[in-house]
């Protein structure tokens, strides 16, 4: 049984879920994500920020804009209502400047998660072998160093265990130069849940959780992207 949000996106002819939608779907699958809600106007944004507690992050929500930070569509660490109002206006202006014809649904509001060791997890479909999960250290280095490990769905606990230890950067997760060790069990548990999620939702063709902040106790995804397969 697929998720109502996925069904709605597909029947609307969309293949990319918004961050708010993606996180809602993942949260329902038991995957820890920062709670994120859509604000259509500036007052809603302030109201959500007050509810979450400060500091918060605002991100532009528009189907037409995929690389949000590149166009100035992301504002982090906003510490009070005035900062949220100012950021909301800047984001709206940046969005219109970058894509004048785009429909902008509003901004997403989420509490700032305490920073931790950044890792990336994701899923893609191999044309021959089906859904494949990826794990690596996150941030910009993932693209340069390609220090990632893959396993084919479904994962067994042993696969998740090996996956986090397979990468060359594993010592970073063990706690490097006095930094706290990452909660490997929490990371493995997310991988297992992603494996279940991929198996249960065949219409999801690609998924990125980037970054996930790993702490000495627990881990949480602070950004998420879900791509649906073309409808057939």
């Amino acid at each position: 049984m697929s998720h109502a949000i996925i069904d709605a996106a597909r029947s609307g002819g969309r293949s990319l879920l918004s961050e708010v939608e993606a996180k809602a779907v993942l949260a329902d699958a038991g995957i820890p994500v920062t709670s994120t809600k859509l604000a259509a106007n500036v007052d809603e944004a302030v109201g959500l920020a007050d509810d979450f507690g400060y500091p918060v992050a605002l991100k532009i929500v528009s189907d037409a804009i995929t690389h949000k930070s590149d166009i100035g569509g992301v504002e982090l660490g906003l510490s009070d209502a005035d900062a949220v109002r100012a950021a909301f206006d800047r984001i709206q202006a940046a969005g219109k400047g970058a894509a004048p014809d785009a429909v902008i649904d509003g901004v997403s509001v989420q509490p700032m998660a305490a920073s931790g060791t950044e890792v990336i997890m994701g899923m893609t479909k191999d044309p021959q072998f089906g859904p494949v999960l990826m794990f690596g250290l996150g941030g910009v280095l993932v693209e340069v160093l390609k220090d990632v490990a893959f396993r084919v769905v479904p994962l067994e606990p042993r696969d998740a265990n090996q996956m986090v230890r397979d990468i060359k950067g594993f010592p970073v997760l063990e706690g490097y130069r006095g930094a706290p060790a990452a909660d490997l069990g929490a990371l493995e548990s997310i991988l297992m849940k992603l494996s279940e999620f991929a198996a249960a939702n065949p219409e999801v063709s690609e998924l990125d959780l980037n970054p996930i902040f790993a702490y000495d106790d627990g881990a949480i995804a602070v950004d998420a992207r879900i791509v649906l397969s073309d409808q057939s």
Binding site: G122, M123, Q128, F129, D159, L207, D208
Partner: protein, 468 residues
């Protein structure tokens, strides 16, 4: 799924369509077959040449006077459907279609012909191997597709190849290094039976102790993974994946999709199922040697027994790079070595430089091996047989080399620790080859460099890790 048992254990083989232009390659390759070999050829011009080979020719499979277990089909593609039909009607055990010009051409006519052949074989439950393949090589039964392949010897490596060339190269170069196939199957386009089916067969085949596979792609990935899991549960499986195409050829919207290359996904599968993976023919042969002839090491401690001291640093590096330790020996070992080891131009630290000590008295090699066998810091041994200094001497005094082989062979009998030898051909390739063949005859693992030995032994060690 058609049964492979009859075609892979044939008593009667028929070649359809062999011809002079190819030097009657099929009939000549199969003249070593231990059972009955017949030909089917309608072309009047070709028949005298076939009969000159002493092979009886018929005008159709129906005329062959006994049940047919294996048919080699070498006809042009337009004729192939008629032969496949003939195979079904005569209830043959199986057929390999050497014939090419099917789906691999990418053209419509080839695809249509392949569909026709596939439907006929499926309906007739025919074990069709190929098309576009070299088919079978079973040395024990003298079944070959190349006249240089071994015959009349029993091998223990089952090899599956999507490519005829890689299959042939493995059978030829492997044999030169003492690695003989139990059964080799080149399956080309794999329309009725593909890698998964052959894996399952070889997993259950009592003659096959190890499985090697060259593969580029599959029609059914999950089925291949299941077959790999099954095969790995029975015996070691070594895979060689060709076609390192980047996933970037597809449009992707995520980091994950852009990083998931074919090769990355295959490496993941290999780890998940507990198989081994290699990147070249040489590495495939090296790993098969290590699997066949050396026991799995119980730990990372490696003793390096060299004939010169100058290279000890790089030897240590070569093994360390593959995850081995080259530790100090125990105090007990050092105490024993100090009693007889020649340290003028020699050393017994680890790596050992033992040329002088052995040339003083050949029995010293046995003593050295025994001391290391008893040393708890050591889990495996690599012994250099220096062609540079010794190959010419061994050629002149073969009894000296035999003495050395005896020492190594007897160590293998009494020790739990794996021992491999290294024989770099240096500037004396002919003499080194002679020495290598003698080592192979005695079933002693011999590698052409320390680096290759270190890599192959490390691969084999990961197998025992997975099974822990």
């Amino acid at each position: 799924m058609p049964d492979l048992n009859r075609v892979l254990n044939p008593k009667t083989v028929v070649v359809v369509g062999d011809k002079k232009a190819s030097g009657y390659m099929w009939l000549n390759s199969l003249k070593t077959f231990t059972g009955n070999l017949y030909s089917v050829q309608l072309d009047e011009k070709e028949i005298p040449g076939i009969e000159e080979l002493g092979i009886q020719n018929f005008s159709g499979l129906g005329e062959i006077p006994e049940p047919i277990d294996f048919v080699v089909c070498a006809v042009p593609r337009q004729v192939a459907p008629f032969i496949v039909k003939d195979c079904v009607e005569n209830n043959v055990g199986g057929v390999t279609l050497f014939t090419s010009g099917f789906a691999e051409t990418g053209e419509e006519e080839g695809q249509a012909l392949q569909d026709t052949v596939e439907e006929m074989a499926r309906e007739g439950d025919l074990a069709l191997i190929g098309p576009n393949c070299m088919g079978l090589h079973i040395p024990e039964l003298g079944i070959r597709f190349n006249v240089d392949q071994p015959a009349g010897v029993k091998g223990d490596v089952g090899f599956i190849s999507q490519s005829g060339t890689h299959g042939m190269n493995f059978s030829l170069a492997g044999a030169a290094h003492g690695v003989i196939c139990s059964k080799l199957i080149s399956f080309g386009n794999g329309i009725i039976l593909e890698a998964a089916d052959y894996l399952r067969y070889l997993a259950d085949d009592p003659d096959t102790k190890f499985i090697g596979m060259y593969i580029e792609g599959t029609h059914d990935g999950p089925r291949l993974i299941e077959a790999l899991r099954y095969a790995v549960s029975k015996k070691p499986v070594v895979t060689w994946k060709g076609g390192q195409t980047e996933a970037g050829s597809r449009a992707t919207q995520s980091h994950t999709a852009s990083l998931a290359t074919n090769q990355a996904v295959w490496e993941a599968i290999v780890k998940q199922v507990g198989a081994l993976s290699v990147d070249s023919l040489d590495e495939m042969i090296d790993v098969m040697k290590a699997l066949r002839l050396s026991k799995p090491a119980k730990g990372p401690g490696m003793a390096l027994l060299a004939m010169t001291g100058g290279q000890s640093v790089v030897l240590t590096d070569a093994f360390a790079k593959e995850g081995w330790d080259v530790p100090l020996l125990s105090d007990e070992s050092y105490a024993q070595f100090s009693e007889f080891f020649n340290i003028i131009g020699g050393s017994y630290k680890n790596p050992l430089d033992m040329a002088g000590t052995i040339s003083q008295d050949p029995k010293n090699l046995d003593k050295i091996l025994d001391i290391i066998d008893a040393d708890d810091n050591i889990d495996a041994l690599a012994v250099e047989l220096s062609a540079t200094f010794m190959a010419r001497r061994w050629a002149k005094k073969p009894e000296e080399f035999e003495r050395l082989l005896d020492s190594i062979a007897s160590f293998r009998e009494r020790s739990e620790k794996p021992l491999v030898t290294i024989l770099h051909p240096a500037h004396v390739e002919a003499e080194a080859l002679e020495a290598r063949l003698k080592l192979q005859e005695r079933e002693i693992a011999v590698f052409q460099s320390f680096e290759r030995a270190a890599a192959a032994m490390a691969k084999v060690a990961t197998l025992s890790e997975h099974n822990r």
